[in-house]
């Protein structure tokens, strides 16, 4: 990878062509994302220790089939994201765009599933500050609030990711992103994998701890 694109062996370089610099910036941004979600994972850990039984009983109310389906969908989309990058690097522009569109499709599919999942809970009257929820044990209130906030924030990241990949597909079409300069697409891929990894943690923490 490096030998094809890293045209900047010296330490001073043109700003737009600094491949390693662009990658570095993206990795640092992802660190900040980890810490951003980290605050929520911290709250999750503390409240799970405090309300162990409530967390386990609430988790059994989540739809494990939809959760598993969404995990598979997101993992598959990550694979297509990676394929689109390697296609582009081999110079196959059309295939790269196709794979990006599939990634977008899977991302949207994930969100649609999430929508039905949330709707089902809201239909039961379970949403933050709802009378039904406030009648429940305190641990359950916190569990469902964490569920909404964490999957909501994750869903927002999926949505942003879908939008960015759409822009990338347009860029690839216009050859702003090309086999010679694909760092934007690669950074988008990094972001998409990050979103995927967050879900890999959310899935067991909410669906599998019954």
């Amino acid at each position: 990878m490096r030998n094809t694109v890293d045209r900047n062996e010296g330490s001073i370089s043109e700003k737009h062509l600094d491949y390693a610099g662009a990658k570095m910036g993206m990795w640092i941004f992802l660190f900040t994302e980890i810490l951003f979600f980290g605050g929520l994972f911290l709250l999750y850990s503390v409240y799970r220790v405090k309300y162990l039984a409530d967390f386990h009983s609430s988790a059994s109310e989540l739809d494990i089939v939809l959760g598993t389906a969404n995990t598979i969908i997101l993992l598959t989309s990550s694979m297509f994201m990676a394929l689109s990058i390697s296609s582009l690097r081999k110079g196959r522009k059309g295939r790269s765009i196709l794979f990006q569109l599939i990634t977008i499709g899977l991302g949207v599919f994930f969100l649609v599933n999430k929508y039905f999942e949330w709707s089902a809970h809201i239909h039961q009257g379970i949403y933050p500050d709802s009378p039904v929820l406030l009648d429940m044990a305190r641990g359950r209130i916190i569990f469902f609030s964490l569920y909404y906030v964490m999957t909501g924030l994750h869903g927002l990241h999926v949505l942003i990711g879908v939008a960015i990949i759409a822009v990338m597909a347009a860029f690839t079409q216009r050859e702003t992103v090309s086999p010679l300069d694909f760092v934007k697409l690669e950074n988008t891929g990094l972001y998409w994998h990050f979103v995927d990894i967050v879900w890999i943690y959310l899935f067991p923490l909410f669906y599998l701890i019954t």
Partner: protein
């Protein structure tokens, strides 16, 4: 040092605006120098608002209730804190001098991501506007204190959500600036600019940038949760719904303690630049000063609990937090002794930048030593939540970071604007500010020891004397600030033309004309030695 590369005919960055004309050549610029100036102007605008609010608070305290109502007073200390911390001192030095001098110090043309850089300024201004807006919109200015402690911050009807969103956005700007700086330092050093030839200002910016990157997201999520708590009642910090307000404090201080080092480290970097130049001597212990910046940044993550000794925490955690708090004093002490050792046997020239640095050492030492007093568990129980704390952090933030900022302002003013200020007026301003500062804030230590709680609108008669003293100090300090800014603003228009190197500095910015040209270096400099070499 690199060969001088300058001509007098070259147009400076102030004249060469790029694609746009007039005001747009500033607000749409991608030139790091113009962005630095944008930040400088906006930061000092917010600073003046903060100062005026501070003066109003002090005014209330000579005669509580006569000028200002209780509710307004609560809003005043909240907004004062929010503005001075999030809009003045945190972006402060890195965003203004950092943007201007980081690429120049490294021998680069710009930062790694110039467009991201101007985007950061836009975020900063939008966030700042929201904070200011929250003062005036119906609902009332936030009245929670700048810490937004739950559960009061959840229940108050004032514009907490708006102010919190403003800070959230400013936080993004801070993260992006940090990201930009780290990448720039790694990727854009000129040939020969090895890590240990970088000016110490860059080392301090590097440590600061990592802290901005790693701490600010935690503040972002905390404020986001506060907003969600207020809009949707998620209950994370609400005891009635199973939440825990102490968790808010933990999350808040996990950012806000490292943030203290975001404020002070760049100021330490500035004075590390100034001491060698005005002592005509290489810095004493370059590597020790460089690594102590990283040390402070590292330990800074591990001490947040010392804000919460009285909030409810196990004894063992309190002992550990207290111990690590003491450890922070070690790298800070290393720096102070190295600056003093730099002056030893140097040929010291006492110009205004050095005076501000000396004030910095004096005030920061008081700040550090009182920090050890309140970091001690037994004393903390007595002093927590009193004026002693207020005195302590003003000595750190204003006496340390603020005076460091002013030192840099006088040191780099000729380079940034190409004009000299009146040295005599600068010295007078310095003296008045130094005296006013100590009267204003030292009396707070005394008040705290007497037991006066912070944030109280009203007080018992025995505190009156020190409150009056403190308020008088605030007037003296304000007069000093007026003279200082008046002198600098006058110099912008009427000052003599500044030579390229008025102070005899040896870092790369002094090889450029004052003010520098648009592209900084006409040819990329090749660095052959350390940053501080004097004949």
């Amino acid at each position: 040092m690199p060969a001088e590369s300058m001509t007098t005919s070259e147009r400076s960055y102030l004249q060469e605006g790029g694609r746009f004309k007039g005001v747009f050549s500033w607000i749409f610029t991608t030139d790091h120098k113009r962005i630095g100036i944008l930040y400088l102007a906006s930061i000092f605008t917010f600073f003046s608002i903060g100062v005026i609010i501070g003066l109003l608070m002090r005014l209330n305290l000579i005669e509580p209730g006569r000028f200002i109502s209780e509710r307004t007073y609560n809003s005043l200390f909240t907004v004062h804190g929010v503005i001075q911390i999030f809009l003045f001192i945190i972006p402060g030095i890195p965003a203004s001098f950092g943007n201007f001098f980081l690429p120049i110090h490294l021998g680069a043309r710009d930062v790694a991501f110039p467009r991201l850089n101007i985007f950061s300024w836009w975020l900063y201004i939008s966030g700042g506007a929201l904070v200011i807006l929250s003062i005036f919109l119906p609902g009332g200015a936030p009245d929670t204190g700048w810490t937004f402690y739950a559960p009061y911050s959840i229940r108050t009807t004032s514009n907490v959500s708006l102010a919190a969103s403003g800070i959230f956005i400013v936080g993004f700007s801070s993260i992006l600036t940090g990201l930009n700086f780290v990448t720039t330092i790694h990727r854009l050093r000129a040939p020969g600019m090895t890590w240990f030839r970088m000016p110490l200002f860059i080392w301090s910016l590097y440590a600061t940038a990592w802290t901005q990157i790693l701490a600010t997201p935690v503040l972002a999520i905390t404020l986001l949760l506060l907003i969600l708590e207020r809009s949707f009642g998620i209950g994370f910090f609400e005891p009635l719904k199973g939440g825990d307000p102490i968790m808010f404090e933990h999350l808040f201080w996990m950012y806000s303690h490292p943030a203290v080092y975001i404020m002070i480290l760049p100021a330490m970097g500035v004075v590390s630049e100034i001491f060698p130049v005005f002592s005509r001597k290489n810095i004493f212990g370059y590597k020790a000063v460089a690594f102590s910046s990283l040390g402070i940044a590292f330990f800074g993550y591990l001490v947040w609990g010392h804000h919460m000794f009285t909030s409810g925490m196990s004894d063992i955690s309190r002992v550990i937090f207290s111990l690590i708090t003491f450890l922070v004093a070690v790298p800070s002490g290393v720096k102070v002794f190295n600056w003093i050792a730099t002056m030893y046997k140097g040929s010291v020239r006492v110009d205004s930048p050095l005076l501000f640095c000396l004030a910095f050492i004096f005030l920061f030492s008081i700040a550090g030593l009182t920090g050890l007093i309140i970091g001690t568990l037994s004393l903390n129980l007595y002093l927590h939540g009193t004026y002693f704390i207020v005195g302590h952090f003003h000595y750190t933030m204003f006496g340390g970071a603020g005076f460091g900022f002013f030192a840099g302002l006088h040191y780099w003013f000729p380079k940034m604007f190409g004009r000299m200020f009146n040295e005599r007026a600068a010295k007078i301003a310095w003296l008045i500010m130094f005296i006013g500062f100590n009267i204003l804030y030292f009396s707070m230590f005394l008040l705290g020891l007497q037991g006066m709680p912070r944030r109280y609108f009203q007080y018992l008669p025995q505190f009156r004397m020190n409150h009056i003293l403190s308020t008088v100090g605030s007037w003296i300090l304000a007069a000093g600030l007026l003279i200082m800014f008046g002198n600098l603003i006058r110099a912008l228009f009427r000052g003599e033309k500044a030579p390229a190197n008025p102070w005899g500095g040896s870092t790369l910015e002094w090889t450029l004309p004052s003010p520098p040209g648009r592209e900084n270096f006409r040819e990329t400099p090749v660095v052959r030695g350390g940053p501080y070499t004097f004949e």
